[in-house]
C-alpha cells in the first residue's frame, strides 16, 4: 500500500492544499503552524474515520476560517490497483465517502467504507465513547504523531489487531508456526486458574482452598487422634490404677494380719516384764534394809574408834596452849602502852596545827586589808583630780552664760542685712540728684543749706537753689516714684538690721562677731574639761572608792574580832606580807610533823591489835580444845550406850544377811534384762507404726481405686476405643486426601511453570525475524557492534534491550536511552515492524514521522537518514514532516514545502 497524493479542503486551517508523495522518502517541510500535522491527520482520517461520523471527532475537523464541509481526497495504491478516496465530513449522517478504483467502478458511502477497511486489512473502528483514541490507535506503529517519537515502542507497538497480524507474519517468517494457539491460551489459563485455586502468587497455600482445607483437616485429624489416644491412655491408666490399688489392698490385708501377730507377741513380753518388775521392787527393798542394818553397825563401830583417837589427840594439843597464853598477855600490855603514847603525841600536834591555821588565815586577812589600803590611796588622788576639773568646767559654763547669745549663723544674717542696707542706699543714691558746687563768687544755697565750693549735696526731692540773691534755681531729681520707693526700702533695711542687733543684744556687727568667736573658744575649752573628767573615770571612780572603803572597814572588823591570843597586827603591806609567809611556813612544818605522828600511831595500833588478837586466839583455842574434848567424850558415851562395848559377832551376822539379799536382787535384774525392756517398747512402737502405715496405704489405695473406677465408668456418651478407631481412620483419610491434593497442586504448578517457560521460549523464537530487521537499522545508527533483544508479550512489544560494544556489552533498556537515541531506536523498530507487515500490503506500507526527530544532532541526523534510506530501499514509503528542511538536504530527495495558509476573512 502506498500513498500517492492528498488534497485537503476546508479542513481546519487548510482552505485547500495538495501534496504528492514519492516512492521512497518524501520530506514535507513547512514552518510551525503551517498545518503539517493537520495534513497528516487528514490522511489518517481519510483512511480510518467514517465520513458519517458525528460528535466531537467529526466536529473538530471543521474550519473556523473557510466555508464548506471539510473534505479529503486521497490517492493510493493497494492490492495492485490505484484508488482514490474522497470523504466529506459534515459532522452528521450526511457525510459522504466515495472510493474510485482506477479502471473500475466507484463505490459509495457504506460500501466504500467497507472496501477501504478491506484494502487496509483493518477492522471497522466502531463508534461511541473513546472513538478518538481508537482512531488514533489505528496504524499507530506506522504513524508517529507529533510528540510521540520518544515513547517506548512497546507502549505503542502494533495497534489493536495488528499484533495478531504481526504474529502471523513472524510465524510465517520464523518457525512457520504460530506463537500461541487458542487452545494453548485456554489450557494455560485453566492451569493458572487451578494454581490460583490452591496457591497465592507468593506460592503459599491459599486460605479457603481445598488444599488449605485438607491441610487443616489433616492437622485436626492428627489432633483428634492424639486426643482420642490420650483419653484411651487415661482409661488404661485408670484400669492400671485399679489393678495396682487392688494389689496394694490384697497385700495390705496379708501384711496387717502378720503385724497383728507381732503385736500379740510383744504384749506377752510386756506382761512378763511387769511381773519381773514387781519381784525386783520387793527384793530391792529387802536388800536395802539388810545393807542399811549392816552399814549402821559398822559405821558406829568405826566412829567409836575414831572418837577414841581424836580424844587422845585433843588432850595432847591442849597443854602447850596454856603456856602460850601467858606470853600473849604480856605482849598485849606492852603494845597498849606504846599506842597510848602515840595517841598523846598526835593530839598535841593536832591542836598546834589548828592554831597555826587560824594564824595563817588571820595574816592573810591583814595582808588583804593592807593591799586594799594601798589601792584606796591611788583611787582617792584620782577622785580629787576629777573634782578639780569639774569645778573648772562649771566656771567655763558660767562664762558662756554671760556672753550674748550670738552664733556664727547670726553673724552671717547680720552681714546679709547690712549688705541689704548698703544696696538700698546705693540704689536710692543713684536715683537722687547730686549737686556740687565747684566754684562760686556768690553764696549758693540749696534749700536750706548753703553750699561751699567743692561740697556736694544730694537731693531726693525738689529743692530750690539760690545763687546770690537773684538767681533762684529749682532742681527736681528724676525717677519720679522710684526715689520714694528707694527711700522706703532703705529705711526698712536699716530698721531690720537694727532690730536684729537689738534682738542679739549687741550694738554692732563687729561686737556680734567678737561675741560669736568668744563663745566658740569657750565651748572648746568646756569640751576639753569634760573629756578629761570622763577619762579619769568620773562617777565610777568615786563609787569604787566608796566600795573600797566599805571593804577595808569589813576586813578591819574581822581582824579585830579574831580570838587569837598574843596577835599583834603588822603595819603596812610589807610587814603584813612577811607575817603571812611566816604563818604559812609554820602550818606546813606542823603538817609534816603530823603526818609522821600519824604513821607512828597506825603502826602502834596494828601491833596492839595483833597482840590483842593473838591473845584472844589462844584463849579461844584453849576454850575450843576443851569443848571439843568434852563433845568427843559425850558422843563416844552416846554411841557406846547405843551399841554396847562388845559388837564383833552381830557385825558378822548382819554382813552375811546383806550379801544374800544383794545376790537375789542381781539375779532378778539379770532376768529383767533378758526380757529387753527398751527394745520391747521400741518394737511395740515400730509394729504399731507399721500397722498404721499399712492401714493408711490401704485407705489411700481404696480411694484411688474408687476414683479410678469412677473414671472407668464415666464413659457413656462416647466410646474411647471407637473414638480412637475413628480418629485413626480419619487421619488416614486426611493423609491420603492431603497427599492427593498436594500432588495435584504440584502437578498444576509444574504445568504452570512449564507453560510460562515454553511460551517464553516460543516468543523468543518468534521475535527473531523482527530482531534481525531491527538489527539492520540499528547498525546504520551504531555500527556493526550493536545487538538487540526484543521481547514480545501478548499485548505488544514487551521490552527492547540494546547491547553496544562501545558500552562494554552491558545491555540497557529503551527507557535508559537519551531522547535523541530513543527517537532513532523507535524509528528503527517501526520501520522493521512496517517491513514485516508490508508483506501483506504489496511489500509496501507508508511510515509517517511527524516532527519525530526534534532531539537529533547533526551527527545523529546522518545516521537517521541512513535508517530512512534503508527503509525506502526495502520498499517502504517514508514520509517525514519537518520544520527544518535543511536537516534533510543530504538525503537526496525532493522536499515539498507547504506554506502557512492565508486565512479567509
Amino acid at each position: 500500500m502506498k500513498l500517492l497524493d492528498v488534497t485537503v479542503r476546508s479542513y481546519r486551517i487548510h482552505k485547500e492544499v495538495t501534496v504528492s508523495f514519492g516512492d521512497g522518502v518524501t520530506v514535507i517541510a513547512g514552518p510551525n503552524e503551517s498545518g503539517k500535522s493537520t495534513l497528516v491527520e487528514a490522511i489518517h482520517n481519510a483512511l480510518f474515520l467514517r465520513s458519517r461520523a458525528t460528535g466531537e471527532v467529526a466536529q473538530s475537523l471543521r474550519s473556523a476560517h473557510h466555508a464548506g464541509h471539510p473534505s479529503v481526497i486521497l490517492g493510493f495504491t493497494a492490492g495492485g490497483k490505484r484508488w482514490t478516496i474522497e470523504k466529506t465530513f459534515t459532522g452528521t449522517s450526511s457525510g459522504s465517502t466515495t472510493l474510485k478504483e482506477q479502471g473500475g467502478r466507484t463505490r459509495h458511502n457504506e460500501e466504500a467504507e467497507e472496501e477501504i477497511h478491506r484494502l487496509l486489512q483493518e477492522e471497522e473502528v466502531g463508534g461511541g465513547r473513546g472513538i478518538a483514541e481508537r482512531i488514533r490507535g489505528r496504524w499507530a506503529h506506522l504513524w508517529v504523531w507529533q510528540g510521540t517519537a520518544g515513547a517506548p515502542p512497546g507502549g505503542q507497538g502494533p495497534g489493536e489487531g495488528s499484533m495478531e497480524k504481526l504474529r502471523e507474519r513472524l510465524g510465517r517468517l520464523g518457525s512457520g508456526s504460530v506463537l500461541e494457539s487458542a487452545t494453548d491460551g485456554s489450557v494455560a489459563r485453566q492451569v493458572l486458574d487451578l494454581v490460583a485455586g490452591s496457591h497465592t502468587d507468593k506460592g503459599r497455600i491459599k486460605a479457603g482452598s481445598e488444599l488449605a482445607w485438607a491441610t487443616e483437616e489433616l492437622e485436626a485429624a492428627r489432633a483428634g487422634r492424639a486426643a482420642a489416644e490420650a483419653v484411651l491412655a487415661a482409661l488404661d491408666e485408670a484400669v492400671r490404677e485399679v489393678d495396682a490399688a487392688e494389689r496394694v489392698l490384697a497385700e495390705g490385708t496379708r501384711s496387717v494380719a502378720k503385724i497383728r501377730g507381732e503385736l500379740v507377741a510383744a504384749e506377752q513380753r510386756r506382761e512378763a516384764l511387769t511381773a519381773v518388775d514387781l519381784a525386783l521392787g520387793r527384793e530391792r527393798v529387802a536388800a536395802d534394809s539388810a545393807r542399811r542394818a549392816h552399814e549402821e553397825l559398822a559405821r558406829a563401830d568405826a566412829e567409836i574408834r575414831a572418837l577414841d583417837e581424836r580424844i587422845r589427840a585433843a588432850e595432847v594439843v591442849l597443854s602447850p596452849a596454856r603456856e602460850e597464853l601467858e606470853c600473849a598477855k604480856a605482849a598485849e600490855g606492852a603494845q597498849r602502852a606504846r599506842l597510848d603514847a602515840a595517841v598523846a603525841g598526835l593530839g598535841g600536834l593536832t591542836a598546834r596545827q589548828r592554831e597555826a591555821d587560824a594564824r595563817a588565815r588571820l595574816q592573810a586577812l591583814v595582808e588583804q586589808a593592807e593591799r586594799q589600803a594601798v589601792e584606796r590611796a591611788g583611787l582617792a588622788s584620782r577622785c580629787d583630780l576629777i573634782l578639780a576639773h569639774r569645778r573648772k568646767a562649771e566656771e567655763i559654763r558660767a562664762q558662756i552664760r554671760d556672753l550674748p547669745a550670738v552664733k556664727p549663723a547670726d553673724v552671717e544674717t547680720l552681714v546679709t542685712l547690712e549688705r541689704a542696707v548698703d544696696a538700698s542706699d546705693a540704689e536710692w543714691r543713684a536715683i537722687a540728684t547730686r549737686v556740687e558746687l565747684i566754684a562760686s563768687d556768690v553764696a549758693v544755697t540749696l534749700g536750706d543749706v548753703t553750699l561751699a565750693p567743692g561740697e556736694a549735696e544730694t537731693i531726693t526731692t525738689g529743692k530750690e537753689i539760690v545763687v546770690g540773691g537773684h538767681t533762684r534755681l529749682r532742681i527736681v531729681p528724676g525717677g519720679g516714684r522710684s526715689l520714694a520707693v528707694g527711700a522706703q526700702r532703705l529705711d526698712a533695711a536699716t530698721e531690720a538690721l537694727a532690730a536684729r542687733l537689738v534682738a542679739l543684744g549687741v550694738a554692732t556687727i563687729d561686737e556680734a562677731r567678737r561675741a560669736a568667736a568668744k563663745r566658740t573658744d569657750l565651748a572648746n575649752d568646756l569640751r576639753a574639761e569634760t573629756t578629761t573628767v570622763e577619762g579619769l573615770g568620773d562617777g565610777k571612780a568615786l563609787a569604787e572608792l566608796s566600795q573600797l572603803d566599805e571593804a577595808i572597814a569589813g576586813l578591819d572588823a574581822r581582824i579585830a574580832r579574831a580570838p587569837l591570843e598574843g596577835f599583834i597586827r603588822a603595819e603596812g603591806l610589807e610587814a603584813a606580807l612577811a607575817a603571812r609567809r611566816e604563818a604559812d611556813a609554820e602550818v606546813e612544818r606542823l603538817a609534816a610533823l603530823l603526818t609522821s605522828a600519824s604513821t607512828d600511831f597506825e603502826i602502834a595500833q596494828k601491833l596492839a591489835d595483833g597482840a590483842v588478837a593473838e591473845h584472844a586466839r589462844i584463849v579461844a583455842s584453849i576454850r575450843s580444845g576443851q569443848e571439843q574434848l568434852a563433845d568427843l567424850r559425850s558422843r563416844r558415851q552416846a554411841l557406846v550406850e547405843k551399841v554396847g562395848e562388845e559388837r564383833g559377832g552381830e557385825l558378822a551376822v548382819r554382813e552375811t544377811a546383806r550379801r544374800q539379799a544383794e545376790d537375789r536382787l542381781a539375779a532378778t535384774q539379770r532376768q529383767r534384762e533378758a526380757l529387753e525392756p527398751e527394745s520391747l517398747q521400741r518394737d511395740q512402737k515400730r509394729v504399731q507404726a507399721s500397722l498404721e502405715q499399712r492401714q493408711e496405704a490401704m485407705r489411700q489405695a481404696d480411694t484411688r481405686r474408687q476414683l479410678a473406677l469412677a473414671a472407668c465408668h464415666a464413659a457413656g456418651t462416647s466410646d474411647p476405643a471407637e473414638d480412637r478407631a475413628r480418629g485413626v481412620a480419619r487421619e488416614a483419610m486426611a493423609v491420603a486426601n492431603h497427599a492427593r491434593l498436594e500432588r495435584d497442586a504440584a502437578a498444576a504448578r509444574l504445568l504452570a511453570d512449564l507453560f510460562r517457560e515454553k511460551k517464553q521460549a516460543v516468543e523468543d523464537r518468534f521475535a527473531e525475524p523482527l530482531k534481525a530487521r531491527v538489527g539492520d537499522y540499528l547498525q546504520r545508527l551504531f555500527g556493526p557492534g550493536v545487538k538487540v533483544s526484543i521481547n514480545l508479550s501478548g499485548e505488544g512489544i514487551g521490552s527492547v534491550e540494546l547491547t553496544r560494544t562501545a558500552d562494554g556489552a552491558v545491555p540497557f533498556g529503551f527507557g535508559s536511552l537519551s531522547g535523541g537515541t530513543r527517537e532513532q531506536v523507535g524509528a528503527s523498530l517501526r520501520l522493521a515492524l512496517a517491513e514485516i507487515l508490508a508483506e501483506d500490503h504489496d511489500g509496501c506500507l507508508p511510515v509517517v514521522f511527524d516532527d519525530a526527530f526534534v532531539n537529533a544532532d547533526p551527527e545523529r541526523l546522518l545516521g537517521l537518514q541512513r535508517v530512512l534510506d534503508l527503509g525506502a530501499q526495502r520498499g517502504l514509503q517514508v514520509i517525514v514532516l519537518t520544520c527544518d528542511p535543511a536537516a534533510y538536504d543530504t538525503l537526496g530527495v525532493k522536499i515539498t514545502e507547504i506554506r502557512r495558509p492565508k486565512q479567509d476573512g
Partner: protein, 401 residues
Amino acid sequence: MTTFIHSADWQLGKPFARIADEEQRGRVQRERLEAVRRIGDLVRERKGTFVVVAGDLFDSATPKDATISHALAAIGSIGVPVYAIPGNHDHGGPDSLWERPFFRRQREAVAPNFHMLLERQPIERDDAVILPCPLLRRHEPDDPTTWLRRWEPAEGDERPRIVIAHGSTRVFGGAALGNSVDGEEAGQANAIDLGRLPLDKLDYIALGDWHGFLKVGEKAWYSGAHEIDRFPKNDQRPGHVAAVTVSRGALPVVEALPTGKLRWLRHEVTLGDDGPGVLNRILREATGSRYDDCLVELVLTGAVSLAERSRLDTLLDDWRAGLVRLDLDDSVRLTPSEEEMRALTERPDPIISRVAAELVARKDAGGEGAAVALAALRLLHGLCRAAADGGTSQPATGAAP
C-alpha cells in the same frame, strides 16, 4: 437331651471407622444388631432352651450407653435365657462395662433373660450345667479354664455340662489358633489348653474369639461371629451360629446355621490391555443384584493409559456409590500410551506440545520429579480433552491415587 444356640463375637458397637460414609457405617453397625434378633428366630425354630455367647458381645470395654441399650433390646427379643461371658474385647473386672450402673439398670429393665457370668463357678439349670470361664481382666495371664481341671461334678448328675470360654486354643500343643486379625493381641496370654481339660467330665465347649465357624475338638467348637465384620483372609465360615444338641456323656450334635446378611468380598484384579472394563465384569458377577449388601476389598494392579485411568476412576466412583463399602488398594501404574503421548507432544498447539514433551522427558527420567510429571501429564491430558470437548466438562484432577 438339650438344644441350645452357641454364638460369639458379636462385637456390637464396632466403629467400622474406615467406612467413610456415615450412612453405610450405621448400616453395617445395625446389621450386627439385626443378626442378634435373627438368633431369636433360630431359637424358636430349633426349640432351643437357651443361648450361650462365648465372649466379645461388645467391640470395646467402654461402649456407649446407646450401644449397650440397643444391644440389650436385641438380646431381650431373643426370649430365652442368654448366658454370656466377657471376652478380651469386653473383659470383666471392676473397671468393666458389666459393673457400670447403666448396664445393670438397663439389663433389668430390657433384658432380664440376659445373664452375664462374671464368676468361674457352675450355673445350674434344669437341663444343663453351665461352666463359665470369663475373662476377668483385660490381660488375663492364665488359661481361664484352669479352674475346671479341679472341678468335681456332683455324683450322679446326668445334666449335660457346657463350658463357655473365650480365647485362642492350643491344639495338640501346636500353634495357637484364634483371632489375631486387625493387629489385636494374639490371644497368647489367655490361650486355652483344651488338652488339659477333663474332657470326660464335659459335654460341649462353646468357644469364642475365632470369627469363623470351626470345630477344634470332638466337643469343642468356635461358632464364629454371627455377622461378618471383616474381609475374609482364609477359609473361614463367618456369619453363622451353632445349633447344639447335647446329652451327658454323648458327643454333641452341632450344626452351623447362617445368620449373617452382609457380604464381605475380596478381589484382586490386574488391569492390562483390556482396560478397566474387565473390572466391571468381575464386580458385577461377584455382587449380583444385591450389590447394596456388599462390602468389597479390591486390590488393583497392572497398568492403564491416561484415558483408561479416567475411565477407571469413573467406574470406581460408580461402584463406590453402590457398594456398602469399597476398600481400594490401588497399585495401578499410570502409563500413558504412545498415542496419548504423541497426541500431546505432537499437537499443533506450540506451547502444549512443548510442555508435554518436557513432561514426558521428566517422567522418563524417573526420580522424584517423575511422579509429579506423570500427574501433570495426566492433568494436561484431561485439560486438553476438556478443551477438545468444547470446555464443557471439567477434567478430572485425580479422584484416585
